[in-house]
């Protein structure tokens, strides 16, 4: 499912909202989530999961073309930990698939 498909399914379930408004809302949600992480704030969505930052220490990398060492500074990367409900539902879906195919 892509962002535009997500917007469509939400719009069909909220018929009183214009598709354009749903599109804006989805973009607004994603923008706020990105902004929150970029300022070091975690995101906690119960039943879905949490997003935090993980720190990567500075390291010496190499220019793959010349083999020359390059100093890479430390940085933060986004990390997602699925919540209990998401984990269970995804796995349940999988187990049902396995059962059907066997």
């Amino acid at each position: 499912m892509t962002k535009s498909e997500l917007i469509e399914v939400i719009a069909t379930q909220q018929p009183h909202l214009a598709q354009k408004d749903v599109e804006l809302a989805v973009k607004c949600i994603l923008e706020q989530m990105s902004h929150s992480l970029s300022t070091g704030d975690r995101i906690e969505i119960r039943g879905f999961g949490s997003f935090t930052l993980h720190y990567r220490s500075p390291r010496t990398g190499r220019n793959p073309k010349t083999g020359e060492p390059v100093a890479l500074p430390g940085k933060h990367v986004p990390h997602f930990k699925p919540g209990k409900e998401l984990r269970e539902r995804v796995n349940q879906g999988y187990l049902e698939e396995l059962e059907k195919s066997s």
Partner: protein, 98 residues
Amino acid sequence: MALTKANLAENLFDELGLNKREAKELVDLFFEEVRGSLEQGEQVKLSGFGNFDLREKRQRPGRNPKTGEEIPITPRRVVTFRPGQKLKTRVEGYVGRE
């Protein structure tokens, strides 16, 4: 402070003028639809933010950490998140706080 669904709904109210009930429903639906797609075994790609991918894990040996007893970990499907380039670049700039 952690960002929650309540903050996201509040922001839709402030920015888009949705009423509070609509805003809350929309935020709930957003996460519910992402979960639903993953539950059906379909990955979710949110360009600019990242992809929620699915990986199948085979059965592997495990152990009860309390008793030391050996028990197999059953095969399962798990969700992984791969941040998109745009999000990675934005987050990289965060220098930490004192």
